[in-house]
């Protein structure tokens, strides 16, 4: 049976978590190229309000299924040694990382495109919802456009 991947992380994805993930790949000596995408919560201004944090939630059963499909189809499409996707749930403050996509391959040509492909599919297909919380404690629901 396939090991269940832990994709969702409560709160921000810390820089030390990312550093550890990189360190763990040093034993995979067939790898020559890593590419990493990080989504960071931006201090957006919307009209007169300023984003302070995003509160993420998800439809977990569907999200897990969609992430499995994305993983499978990415491996079919690109020659990768490994790939990892992590996303925050709950509150992530401005400046903190909420998405971490990590792609590794023997050689570099495909790693950039593979990363972009994964990030786009995660944004479009995975049922994750985000409440943009403003500095005055009001909020609005974020949409990926």
């Amino acid at each position: 049976m396939k090991k269940k991947k832990t994709v969702f992380i409560e709160g921000q994805i810390t820089s030390s978590f990312i550093g550890n993930a990189i360190a763990k790949h040093q034993t995979k000596t067939q790898i020559g190229a890593h590419n990493i995408f990080l989504g960071q919560v931006r201090k957006d201004k919307i009209e007169d309000k300023t984003v302070k944090a995003i509160d993420f939630s998800c439809y977990q059963e569907m999200a897990d299924q969609k992430l499995d499909i994305i993983r499978e189809e990415t491996f079919e499409k690109y020659d990768l040694t490994c790939m990892h996707i992590y996303h925050s749930l709950g509150k992530v403050e401005v400046g903190e990382v909420c998405l971490f996509v990590f792609v590794s391959a023997p050689h570099r040509p495909q790693v950039y495109e593979a990363t972009e492909y994964i990030v786009n599919r995660v944004k479009e297909e995975v049922p994750i919802f985000g409440k943009e919380i403003f500095e005055d404690a009001s909020y609005q629901w974020k949409t990926n456009v």
Partner: protein, 77 residues
Amino acid sequence: MKVIYFGKIADVTKKTVEEIELQDKNVKSLITFLNEKYAINLSEMQIAVNQNLVSKSELLELKDTDEVAILSAFAGG
């Protein structure tokens, strides 16, 4: 039929799960129900049946054993 709500939808319905009885058990009449009870527009929702998005124009039949979810716009990343 059990329907689950996510994101902005759950915010509007003020619940995350609801038992709904429809005359015609299909997607169309579920949309009508949501529109009438909560004033949720078609454009604001996506419908997943057993974890797969379905077309909102479909007359797809819904079974009591189906997992039906009403989702607002995705916002991951």
